[in-house]
C-alpha cells in the first residue's frame, strides 16, 4: 500500500506541470480524490485490511492526503498568480515616458505676484482688488492730478467714448471711463470704503498707450501697497521696503530712495535696489519702483484727516520684477505664452 501511495504521489507530481487552468485543476484533482480517483480507490481498499493493519494504513493514507492537499494548494496558488499576471498584462518598462508628462504650471507673473503678496501678508497686508476699467476721477482727480495737470503727461491713457456705459463701475460725477493706467484707483476706493488703519496690497492689470517693444507693453501689471495709520513715517516706509526686497532677493539686498515727483505722494521717491544675488545686475543700483508718503490732498478727497493720519504707498511693475528675478530680456514673452517659456518656471 505504501508503495502504491508513493507511486500515486509520484504520478501526481509528474502531471502537475500540465495543469494550466482551473478546469485542468478540477480534472486533475478528480483523478486522485474524486469519487473514482486513484486515492479514493485505495481508501476504499481499507475495508479489506485486517484490524491490525488498519491503523497503519490509516496513518499512511492521512499522510498521503496531506501531501495531496499541499500539491493542490501549490497548483491553485500558481494558477491564481498566473491569472493575476494575465490580468495585469506584461511588466512595465519604467523607462518609457509617460504620455501625461505635460504638467500644469503657473504663469511666471502669477508666481511673482503671489510671492510678493505672501511677503506683504507676513507683515499684515491683505489683497484688495479693483476694476480694470476705471473713471477719470478715481485714477486722476482723486489722486491730485487735475485735468490739465502736466503730470497727466506721464501717462498716456486709453479712454472710452463718452457714450460708454459700465454697469458695475461707479462714477463720481459725469467723468469719462478709461482703462486704469495704474492700480492707485484701488487705494482711493478702499479708503472711501473703510476707515483707517488701512493696510492693503493691490495687484492688477494696467494699461498705457505705449508702443510695444522689449521693455514696454500697453498691457502690464502693477502691485501697489498702501498703509495708512497714525504716525506713519518715511522711516517706516524705508523699513518696509528693506524688508520686502530682502525677502524677495535675499539677505544683503539693499535699497535706496531717490527724490522724485508723483502727484499722489509727498514726499515722493524712486526706489533702487542692489543685490549681489542677481548675476546680471551686479552691484549696480537698479530702478525698481516708486513710493512716497500719501499726499494730504489725497486724504482729503477720501475724507481722511491729513492732520490725524499719515501713510505711504509703494508701487512696482510686476513684469519688471519678474524680468529681473528670472533674467528675462523681453517683456513680450509674458504675453506670448510659448510652452517652452511657460514650463521653465515650474
Amino acid at each position: 500500500m505504501e508503495q502504491n501511495l508513493n507511486r500515486l504521489i509520484e504520478k501526481a507530481r509528474h502531471e502537475i506541470g500540465a495543469v494550466k487552468t482551473r478546469a485542468d485543476f478540477e480534472a486533475f484533482k478528480a483523478r486522485f480524490v474524486g469519487p473514482k480517483g486513484d486515492l479514493t480507490q485505495i481508501m476504499k481498499g481499507m475495508g479489506k485490511l485486517s484490524k491490525e493493519e488498519r491503523p497503519i494504513a490509516g496513518r499512511l493514507i492521512n499522510s498521503a492526503k496531506a501531501t495531496f492537499q499541499e500539491l493542490f494548494d501549490e497548483v491553485l496558488e500558481r494558477i491564481g498568480n498566473e491569472e493575476l499576471a494575465a490580468k495585469l498584462g506584461p511588466a512595465i518598462d519604467p523607462s518609457l515616458p509617460s504620455p501625461d508628462a505635460n504638467s500644469g504650471s503657473y504663469h511666471p507673473l502669477t508666481q511673482v505676484r503671489e510671492e510678493i503678496c505672501r511677503i506683504f501678508k507676513q507683515v499684515g497686508f491683505s489683497v484688495a482688488e479693483g476694476t480694470e476699467v476705471e473713471t477719470e476721477y478715481y485714477c486722476f482727480d482723486a489722486l491730485n492730478t487735475p485735468a490739465d495737470h502736466p503730470a497727466r503727461d506721464l501717462q498716456d491713457t486709453f479712454y472710452f467714448p463718452d457714450k460708454a456705459r459700465f454697469g458695475n463701475i461707479s462714477k463720481k460725477e459725469e467723468e469719462g471711463y478709461l482703462l486704469r493706467p495704474h492700480t492707485s484707483s484701488v487705494q482711493i476706493r478702499t479708503m472711501l470704503e473703510q476707515e483707517p488703519p488701512v493696510r492693503i496690497i493691490s495687484p492688477g492689470r494696467c494699461f498705457r498707450r505705449d508702443t510695444v517693444d522689449a521693455t514696454h507693453s500697453a498691457n502690464f501689471q502693477q502691485i501697489e501697497v498702501l498703509y495708512v495709520d497714525k504716525n506713519v513715517t518715511v522711516r517706516d516706509l524705508k523699513a518696509l521696503l528693506d524688508y520686502f526686497f530682502e525677502s524677495l532677493l535675499g539677505k544683503g539686498t539693499t535699497t535706496r530712495f531717490r527724490p522724485h515727483f508723483f502727484p499722489y505722494t509727498e514726499p515722493s521717491f524712486e526706489v533702487d535696489f542692489s543685490s549681489k544675488h542677481l548675476a546680471k545686475v551686479g552691484s549696480d543700483w537698479v530702478e525698481i519702483g516708486g513710493c512716497g508718503m500719501v499726499e494730504p490732498s489725497v486724504f482729503e478727497s477720501v475724507g481722511y484727516d491729513p492732520d490725524e493720519y499719515s501713510g505711504f504707498a509703494f508701487g512696482v511693475g510686476l513684469e519688471r520684477i519678474a524680468m529681473i528675478l528670472y533674467g528675462i530680456d523681453d517683456i513680450r514673452y509674458f504675453y506670448q505664452n510659448d510652452q517652452r517659456f511657460l514650463k521653465q518656471f515650474v
Binding site: P97, H107, C117, V123, L154, P203, N231, T233, R256, P267
Partner: protein
C-alpha cells in the same frame, strides 16, 4: 533738460568731477539719463581750412570741387565735397590725407568720380563734435587758418541729460540747477550781473516801431513786456554763445535769436524777438485767434488755429502763437534793424492745451505749461538786453511797454521742526533743518523756538512749495534720501481678508494647474474683427475704446478663450506640444447697452498632435463640464442646481449639439462649455477638436471666504438600492427627468427615511423602444438615520414612487 558742466560753472565754482555731479543730481531728484562728453577727441591732421573756390563737379550733379586753403605757406588743396551748406569764404574743418577720424576712418587722396580729392571737409559728426552730420561744420569766429582743430575747440565739456519732474519748472534752466548744486555743496550761487536797468532818460521814441501793446485776453496772458531795440546788426553769434547753445543741443541762428535762446536756457524764461519792420500798424495785440485763423510758424508748417488759442498779432495778422512758437513772417533775419523783444507770462493750462492740440511742443511751451516765474519776466528781459547790446549793438527806445502784472503771491509756510521730524521718523536737528532750507533760498522769516513755530518765505520760483509737508521733502533731499536710517518693520495687527476675487483666482488656478493646465496671460484688448465672431455687433460696440493705438487692440475682451486659441495656434506652429491651457482674468460683457466687468476663468483642451506610444482617450464634453463645475464651486456656486442648456443654434463659436451654455443675469453668472465650433477652429488653422469651458461671474456675486461649516451627523446604517428605468422623450434632458424623479421620490418619503441620491447608471436608445424615446435607468439610494432598512419598508415607498411617476408624468416605467 540738457545742462552743460561749463555753463553751470559760470554760476558756481564747481570742483567736483562730472561723475560726482551726476551722483549728486541723481540724489537731488534729477535722474541723469545720460552724460555726454563734449569737445573733440584728439585729431591729428585735421585743421582749419577756408573754402577759396567752389565749382561744379564735371561728372556729378551733387558734388562740388573746391579749392581749400589750409594755412599760410601750405599748398591749397583740391577737395571734392558733397555738402551743400557752405559758401566760398567759410572756414571748415579739413581732414588732410593721413588723418584718422573717429571710428577709425583714414583719409586718403583718391579720385572721386574722376577728380582727385586731397582730403575731406568735415561735418561736426565726422570729427566727433556733436551729432550734426547734415552739412559741414561751419567754424564761427574766424579761427586761424591752418590751426589744428583741437585748438579751435579747446574746452572739454560734459552735458548731462536730466529728467526734470513736472513740479520743478524752475530747474528747466541752468541757474535753477546751479542753485540745487549750490545747496547740495553748500556753496554760493553767483547770479549773472545785469547792467541794463531801464531805458535811459532822453532815449529816442519807439513810436516808429511800436505805438501800443494791448492785452485782450488777460486770462491767458496776465503779463506782457515789450522792449524796442533799434539799430541792431544781425550777425552770427560770438563763439562762446554758439558753443554754449550747441552744447545743449540748440542750433545757433543769429546773435539776437541766439541770445533769446541763451537766456531761456540760462534763466528758464522764454522770450521772443520780432522784426519791428514786419509789424503792421506798429501795434501788438494779444488776442484769441479767430477760429480757423492760419499762421506759418518758424518751423515752416502752416497751422490752423482755434479760438481757444492765444496769438500775438499786429494790426493785420497773427505774428506768433503766444508762448508756443513765433511766426515765420515776423522772424528776425539778416535784414532786421529794429527788434521788439517780448517777455511774458502765459497761463500754463492754456499753453498746454494749445501745444497738445497743435501737437507742437517747443522749449517755450514746455516751460510755460509747467509754470514760469512771472516775477522774473522783467529781469530776464534785462539780462537779454545786455547780451543783445553786447552782441548785436543797438539802443533801447522809450517807452518800455509793460501790460498786466506779475501773478505770484508771496507765500509763507509756518511749521514746526517737530513736524518735519515726525514725518521723517528720525532725528534731524533744528540747525540742520534751518541750514537745508536756507541753502535752497527758503529764507526763515521768523523763528520762534519756544513755540516751535517757524515761518519760511517761499521764493516765487518755487511754485511747488506751499505746505509744511512740501518742506519735508526739501529737508530730506538735502539730508540725503540715501541716508534715511534703517529700521525694523513694526506694524500693529490689522484684521484684513484677501479680496474674494483674489481668492477665487487662487483656488481656480490651483485646481486647473493641478489638472495639468498651463496658465497663460493674454492682452485684455482684442480686435474688432474677432469681437464680431464672439459677440453681436451691438455688444461689440459697447466694448470699443475711444483711442486705441493698434488695429488689433481696439476692444475689451468679452472672453478669455480667443486669446487661448491664439496661444494654442502659436504653440502648434512652433510644435511645442501644448494641450491644456487656462487663464483667469477680467472680461467684459455687454447687455442692454451696459457693460459689466466680470471675473472669468477660461480653459481649453486640445488634442495632442504628436504620435505617442500610449494613446490616451481624448477629452469629451463631460470632462470639460466637470472641470467647469468645479471652477464654479470656487466662486461659491454649485451649477448642478442650475439648469444647463444645450447650444443648438448653428453658427456661434460653439459647436451646435456638442456644447452647452447658461446665462443667469440675476445670479450674475454665465458659462459656456463644450466643443469649439469646428469651422471656427478651421478658420484659425487649428486641426482637431478643442474642448473648452468659460465661466464668468459679477465680482459682487463672488462668495469670498466660505462660512465655516457646521458639522452634520451622517448615518452609520447601510443603504438600500432600487433601480428604476424610465422611457422618456428623446428630446427631454436627463437632468430634467432626474430632478422630477427626485422631487417625486422625496415627496413620497414622508420623513420615514431619506432618498439620499439618484444616479443615472444607464442610457439606452434603439431596439425595443418606441420611436423617439430613450430609456434612462436610475439608481435610487435610500438610507435611514437610525436603523437598517428592511426590504419591505423600502418596497412600499419604491412602489409609491412608481405609482406617482405613472400618474403624474408622461414617463413609462420600463419593466
Amino acid at each position: 533738460m540738457k545742462v552743460s558742466y561749463n555753463w553751470l560753472k559760470k554760476y558756481i565754482p564747481l570742483t567736483q568731477s562730472p561723475e560726482e555731479i551726476e551722483g549728486v543730481f541723481t540724489l537731488l531728484g534729477f535722474e541723469v539719463e545720460s552724460v555726454e562728453s563734449k569737445g573733440l577727441p584728439v585729431l591729428d591732421g585735421v585743421v582749419v581750412g577756408e573754402v577759396l573756390e567752389r565749382n561744379q563737379h564735371p561728372n556729378a550733379d551733387r558734388l562740388s570741387v573746391c579749392r581749400v586753403g589750409v594755412g599760410e605757406g601750405k599748398e591749397d588743396k583740391v577737395i571734392v565735397c558733397g555738402a551743400q551748406n557752405y559758401k566760398v569764404g567759410d572756414r571748415v574743418p579739413v581732414a588732410l590725407p593721413g588723418a584718422v577720424l573717429p571710428g577709425g576712418f583714414t583719409i586718403k587722396s583718391s579720385k572721386l568720380r574722376g577728380v582727385q580729392s586731397d582730403g575731406m571737409m568735415c561735418s561736426g559728426k565726422e570729427i566727433g563734435y556733436g551729432e550734426d552730420g547734415a552739412g559741414l561744420l561751419l567754424l564761427a569766429g574766424d579761427p586761424l587758418l591752418g590751426a589744428a582743430i583741437n585748438d579751435v575747440f579747446p574746452d572739454d565739456d560734459y552735458v548731462f541729460d536730466l529728467e526734470v519732474t513736472p513740479n520743478r519748472p524752475d530747474c528747466l534752466s541752468h541757474i535753477g540747477l546751479a542753485r540745487e548744486l549750490a545747496a547740495a555743496f553748500n556753496i554760493e550761487l553767483k547770479f549773472p550781473s545785469v547792467q541794463f536797468s531801464g531805458v535811459a532818460e532822453g532815449a529816442s521814441s519807439a513810436d516808429d516801431c511800436l505805438k501800443s501793446v494791448v492785452i485782450e485776453s488777460k486770462e491767458q496772458c496776465p503779463l506782457y513786456v515789450a522792449h524796442v531795440i533799434s539799430g541792431v546788426k544781425i550777425a552770427p553769434s560770438p563763439e562762446w554763445l554758439q558753443t554754449a547753445l550747441t552744447a545743449v543741443g540748440l542750433r545757433p541762428i543769429n546773435n539776437v535769436v541766439d541770445v533769446t535762446n541763451y537766456v531761456l536756457m540760462e534763466l528758464g524764461q522764454p522770450m521772443h524777438a520780432f522784426d519791428a519792420a514786419k509789424i503792421a500798424g506798429h501795434k501788438i495785440v494779444i488776442r484769441q485767434a479767430a477760429e480757423g485763423e492760419k499762421i506759418k510758424t518758424l518751423d515752416g508748417e502752416e497751422r490752423t488755429l482755434s479760438s481757444r488759442m492765444l496769438v500775438i498779432a499786429d494790426a493785420e495778422k497773427a505774428m506768433a502763437i503766444g508762448g508756443v512758437m513765433g511766426g515765420a513772417e515776423s522772424e528776425v533775419d539778416e535784414g532786421t534793424q529794429d527788434i521788439i523783444l517780448e517777455t511774458a507770462y502765459f497761463n500754463p493750462s492754456a499753453i498746454r492745451w494749445t501745444a497738445k492740440r497743435l501737437n507742437l511742443s517747443s522749449d517755450s511751451s514746455y516751460r510755460f505749461e509747467r509754470g514760469v516765474d512771472s516775477s522774473s519776466v522783467a529781469s530776464a528781459a534785462q539780462r537779454a538786453i545786455d547780451l543783445i547790446l553786447e552782441t548785436a549793438g543797438g539802443t533801447v527806445l522809450s517807452p518800455v511797454y509793460k501790460e498786466g502784472a506779475e501773478t505770484d503771491e508771496q507765500i509763507e509756510i509756518t511749521f514746526s521742526p517737530d513736524y518735519i521730524r515726525e514725518r521723517c521718523g528720525f532725528e534731524i536737528s533744528d540747525d540742520q533743518i534751518s541750514q537745508f532750507l536756507q541753502a535752497l533760498e527758503l529764507s526763515i522769516a521768523s523763528r520762534n523756538d519756544e513755540a516751535k513755530e517757524w515761518t519760511v518765505a517761499i521764493p516765487s520760483f518755487r511754485s511747488d512749495l506751499s505746505r509744511p509737508i512740501d518742506l519735508v521733502e526739501e529737508v530730506l533731499r538735502l539730508y540725503g534720501t540715501d541716508k534715511i536710517p534703517s529700521a525694523v518693520v513694526r506694524f500693529p495687527g490689522i484684521v484684513g481678508k484677501d479680496d474674494p476675487i483674489c481668492l477665487f483666482n487662487r483656488r481656480a488656478s490651483a485646481y486647473l494647474v493641478g489638472q495639468d493646465f498651463r496658465e497663460c496671460m493674454n492682452y485684455t484688448l482684442r480686435s474688432g474683427e474677432e469681437m464680431k465672431q464672439w459677440q453681436t455687433s451691438a455688444q461689440a460696440e459697447g466694448l470699443k475704446l475711444a483711442n486705441p493705438i493698434t488695429e488689433d487692440q481696439t476692444h475689451l475682451r468679452s472672453s478669455i478663450l480667443p486669446g487661448l486659441l491664439d496661444v494654442l495656434k502659436l504653440n502648434r506652429d512652433r510644435k511645442t506640444g501644448i494641450t491644456r491651457l487656462f487663464e483667469c482674468g477680467r472680461t467684459f460683457s455687454e447687455e442692454n447697452g451696459q457693460v459689466n466687468e466680470m471675473i472669468s476663468a477660461g480653459f481649453l483642451i486640445a488634442e495632442n498632435e504628436d504620435e505617442i506610444w500610449l494613446k490616451r482617450s481624448p477629452a469629451d464634453f463631460y470632462l470639460v463640464k466637470s472641470l467647469l463645475f468645479q471652477v464654479a464651486r470656487f466662486a461659491g456656486f454649485d451649477l448642478a442646481n442650475h439648469p444647463i442648456e444645450a447650444i443648438e443654434k448653428e453658427g456661434s463659436t460653439w459647436q451646435a449639439g456638442h456644447s452647452a451654455a447658461y446665462d443667469n443675469a440675476k445670479a450674475g453668472i454665465s458659462y459656456q462649455v463644450g466643443l469649439i465650433n469646428l469651422s471656427h477652429l478651421q478658420a484659425r488653422g487649428l486641426k482637431g477638436n478643442v474642448y473648452a469651458g468659460h465661466f464668468s461671474i459679477l465680482p459682487a456675486r463672488l462668495k469670498g471666504e466660505k462660512k465655516r461649516k457646521q458639522y452634520k451627523s451622517f448615518s452609520t446604517f447601510p443603504p438600500a438600492l432600487r433601480d428604476l428605468a424610465l422611457v422618456v422623450d428623446q428630446a427631454e434632458p436627463a437632468g430634467d427627468v432626474g430632478r422630477k424623479l427626485s422631487r417625486i421620490g422625496k415627496s413620497m418619503l414622508s420623513g420615514r427615511f431619506d432618498l439620499e441620491d439618484i444616479n443615472v447608471f444607464d442610457l439606452y436608445k434603439g431596439e425595443g423602444l418606441p420611436a423617439g424615446k430613450k430609456s434612462l435607468a436610475f439608481s435610487l439610494v435610500f438610507r435611514s438615520e437610525d436603523k437598517t432598512l428592511t426590504d419591505e419598508e423600502v418596497n412600499i415607498v419604491f412602489q409609491k414612487i412608481q405609482d406617482e411617476v405613472e400618474a403624474k408624468t408622461d414617463y413609462q416605467i420600463r419593466k
